[in-house]
Amino acid sequence: MRKLKPGIILFIILFVLWIILAGTDRDELIIAGVSSLVISLLFASKAKALGNIHLSPKAICCAFMYLFVFLRELVKSTIDVAGRVLSPRLPINPGIVKVHTRLKSPLGRLILANSITLTPGTMTVETQGEYFYIHWIDIQTDDIETTTKAIVSIFEEYLEVIFG
């Protein structure tokens, strides 16, 4: 079961994707089943990262909370950056800072880094072990801990529940 879990999750994802693309006709379901089965068999060894997902009710609840928090941050920081761009003085204060993260699983780190990158104003430049190097458009402090609190912690508490 432990070994099959990534393959099964991949199969479900691909199947749902095909249904959104093409609808729930009988022919479509046959082809969708066959092709997603073949692909998930081919890629089961590569997609090991998918095995880290916890499927408890609490994790699913956290996923929805995470989505909400992420969208809120996205809108907030986009408005912030738009204000900076439109103001004539161009008030930026950029630089590369170092933060640390507690996440271990590859998928969790991928989603954390992508969330940081997607919110305008912060951008992951490099990952080394437990440190992320982040280009920040408006540096406020010099300290690693406060920087971590400002950028990473919002997302990390939810991701930790989902991916462990």
């Binding site: 693309l21 761009v85 630089g95 951008m123």
Partner: protein, 111 residues
Amino acid sequence: MQLIGAVISLLGAIIIFIGALGAFRMPDVYNRMQTGTKATTLGSMLAFLGVGIAVPGWIGKIVLLVLFIIITNPISSHALARAAHYSGIKLTEKSVRDNLEEDYPDEVDND
């Protein structure tokens, strides 16, 4: 309903325009990337969602479009930022500090 969708699309288009303007005004590559490739993500999401609201039958494909954009865009901009740093492009003079340069000074090839 169509009116709401059109207004949301207009908002998205304006955000894309602001992103392009930011890429035009900012002083170095990293800041251009900040506005250019990520403010545009929210902009394109809003533009697509506006179309999806205006024409309700298309919502499935619109959702997939948003999903693809949201997965692929950060990976490419991360890769580009890393490449820009390693190929030796300096940060602008306005920058405060550069922890990555301090920690790994040998990795950059300055040619």
